[in-house]
């Protein structure tokens, strides 16, 4: 296996690590807070919202948007680090 191949494998591993972390958050806010634990979170009241309801109808969507932009900036850095970015 050449150096180049090893470098690409390391790039791919780091990418997979980012994906695992970001998708865990994705799962947690939507399926976790918005569905599985919504009843429990509904006991907590923030402003006029019950927390479980807020996650299900508002919060999860905001987190989705943030996740994508975090991913974009992580990957732009990673591409540069491994010198695979587009010129």
């Amino acid at each position: 296996m050449t150096d180049q191949d090893q470098k690409m494998q390391a790039y791919w591993r780091e990418n997979i690590r980012y994906l695992t972390i970001l998708l865990s958050i994705w799962f947690l806010v939507s399926y976790g807070c918005g569905i599985l634990f919504a009843d429990v979170l509904n006991q907590i009241q923030i402003g006029g919202f019950k927390l479980g309801f807020w996650f299900a109808q508002q919060g999860a969507i905001y987190v989705f948007v943030v996740l994508i932009f975090v991913y974009v900036s992580l990957m732009n850095r990673l591409d540069k680090k491994y010198d695979v970015d587009e010129k």
């Binding site: 994906l19 918005g34 006029g48 299900a56 109808q57 969507i61 989705f64 587009e86």
Partner: protein, 573 residues
């Protein structure tokens, strides 16, 4: 000026705008026709994707649906946004690097088989077509209700507009008109929401407003919960469906979104892999703007409606009530003859015994079609006529932009995937462009015809398209990128198992006489695509390991799409 004059003016102006944009953005090559030359800025592409994605149903029906479902409406809100995270992280950048025009292109090359390509073409056409007919119907309804032309004329006008800019401009024309259409539809959606939010809770931001306090000092949602329990419904803010069903439906919608060909193809139109990632983010920003406003509108509308009609004397109801009664979308039947509207949950036996019988109520007297919530909302809140006209223009923008995007997928599937790749590989660039124009022209006309004479199955099928897309396309594309070992045998058997399982489950419960108590693990047909997707995954994985590895050229292809450098522009070869 009346509502109708305003509607003519505003709809007319927006149509002129679309036509002007289309003339400015004509397509000169197949590359411009299929993927807008691959040179669209990520923010513009994000707007176009958002307009493409949000259909007449998102614009007109969704807030109404949520307003009747309460908490459970979250399945649409999360389901139709969460898929973009999957797209951005798992699919879009790699498909962009792959650099061809269509999803069948990817399936065909990754699984080194024209049969696989053909199967993908048929699925893409089927899914897109059922979708587009629904849009045409939406156009017809909007025209016929607000411009008082008949339904057929409405569809013909709509078809004419789409025909003009889709045939002339292809993806390039469609993309830039969609940017304009997004601006129209989001403006039209937000204006009434902001007005109503100020009226009810004194907060101009609806997303915050529906967590605000009413004039009487009680939080709006607490008041709504109380109104609901008082009428025998479940609290607005807690779940009604079994948790597992909610979970599976949300997942099916998310995975389906990420597997829909007309959404995926948008990411072929940007110049770089980096832009594809970013573009998915922008698309979600623009979609989220509407999707976070919808639940606010739902809660406002629900509160307003109950307060206005519940236990009020029929003779004293405001004029919008009678106007909508004439359309048949609002029905009042005075069952106990007391001249008052009793609106309550007559399915709730306990409530009926404890409250309804005592008060001499003889069943729920009001039936409200969910579609009128967005359209009637400005009238219920007594907003000026131009706002109502704006909502009509917004609904039309939503329907037209989605229809155009879908028609392009159909045309591309026929002229590129079928004609160029399978039937006549030696066709020239000009010949292919001509074929694409003819294909889209025919598709527009056929869609128009079925919009006027909708086949009965269409309405039901649209709802299942997500489950079927999740159970067929999603695993094949995902494993095609992330698992080099996945081969033709695995992908084909997985797709067949996923598709057959999901389709037969849906068919059994919809037409085969199945009853809800027979649901597998309590999962309704809407959510079964998720299970089909898991089956597909397992079968693909196992079969791939039991059969020979894919050829090394394909493994090299997978290696190369994982790395952004050298993406170049989307090309046919």
């Amino acid at each position: 000026m009346g509502v109708q004059t305003w509607t003519f003016i505003i709809v007319g102006l927006t149509f002129l705008l679309y036509i002007a944009v289309a003339i400015w953005a004509r397509a000169g090559s197949t590359k411009e026709f299929y993927v807008a030359g691959g040179g669209v800025h990520p923010i513009a592409n994000g707007m176009a994707t958002a307009a493409d994605w949000m259909s007449a149903a998102s614009f007109i029906s969704m807030a109404g649906l949520i307003s009747f479902m309460g908490f459970d409406g979250a399945q649409y809100l999360m389901g139709w946004t969460g898929g973009y995270v999957l797209l951005a992280l798992l699919l879009a950048p790699y498909l962009r690097k792959f650099g061809k025009f269509t999803v069948p292109d990817f399936i065909g090359e990754r699984y080194y088989s024209d049969t696989a390509r053909l199967v993908a073409v048929v699925c893409a056409i089927f899914v897109s077509f059922t979708y587009v007919v629904g849009q045409m119907k939406g156009v017809g309804i909007a025209f016929s209700r607000f411009l008082e032309v008949d339904f057929t004329t409405g569809i013909i006008i709509g078809v004419g507009i789409v025909f003009f800019y889709a045939v002339l401009g292809g993806m390039k024309g469609i993309t830039y008109t969609q940017v304009a259409q997004y601006c129209v539809l989001i403006f039209a959606y937000l204006v009434p929401a902001i007005f109503i939010s100020i009226q009810m809770v004194g907060n101009p931001i609806p997303q915050l407003g529906f967590g605000g306090n009413l004039e009487e000092g009680v939080p709006l949602l607490a008041k709504l919960d109380m109104l609901h329990t008082d009428l025998g419904f479940k609290e607005y803010t807690s779940a009604n469906k079994p948790t597992i069903d909610l979970f599976f439906i949300t997942a099916a919608l998310m995975l389906g979104t990420a597997g829909l060909p007309h959404v995926i193809v948008r990411f072929f139109t940007v110049p770089k892999v980096r832009d594809a990632r970013q573009s998915a983010g922008w698309a979600l920003v623009f979609i989220a703007l509407l999707y976070t406003t919808a639940p606010a509108i739902a809660a406002f509308a629900r509160t307003n409606m109950i307060n206005t009609v519940s236990n009020q004397s029929y003779a004293e109801l405001p004029s919008w009530f009678n106007n909508w009664e004439k359309t048949g979308l609002l029905q009042f039947e005075d069952k106990n003859g007391d001249g008052t509207v009793q609106y309550y949950n007559d399915q709730n036996q306990e409530y009926v015994r404890a409250v309804a019988v005592k008060n001499g109520w003889k069943g729920n007297e009001l039936v409200v079609d969910r579609d009128i919530m967005v359209l009637a909302n400005p009238e219920i809140a007594k907003l000026p006529a131009w706002v109502i006209a704006l909502v009509v223009a917004g609904g039309l923008a939503a329907a037209l932009s989605t229809a155009a995007g879908l028609l392009l997928v159909i045309a591309t599937s026929i002229s590129h995937d079928l004609f160029k790749k399978i039937i006549r590989p030696d066709i020239s660039e000009r010949g292919e462009l001509m074929a694409a124009r003819v294909a889209i022209a025919v598709a527009v006309l056929v869609a128009g015809y079925f919009g006027v004479n909708p086949p009965g199955f269409v309405a039901q099928v649209v709802a299942w398209a997500f489950g079927l897309a999740a159970a067929s396309f999603f695993p094949a594309i995902l494993l095609g990128i992330f698992d080099k070992r996945t081969n033709l045998q695995g992908a084909i058997s997985g797709m067949i198992v996923g598709l057959v399982f999901t389709a037969s489950y849906i068919f059994y419960f919809k037409y085969g006489g199945g009853t809800p108590d027979q649901y597998l693990f309590n999962i309704s047909p809407e959510g079964i695509g998720t299970l089909g997707m898991l089956l597909n995954f397992t079968v693909t994985f196992v079969v791939s390991r039991l059969t020979p590895a894919p050829p090394s050229s394909v493994q090299d292809l997978v290696e190369s799409i994982r790395i952004p450098r050298g993406a170049g522009q989307a090309s046919a070869h």
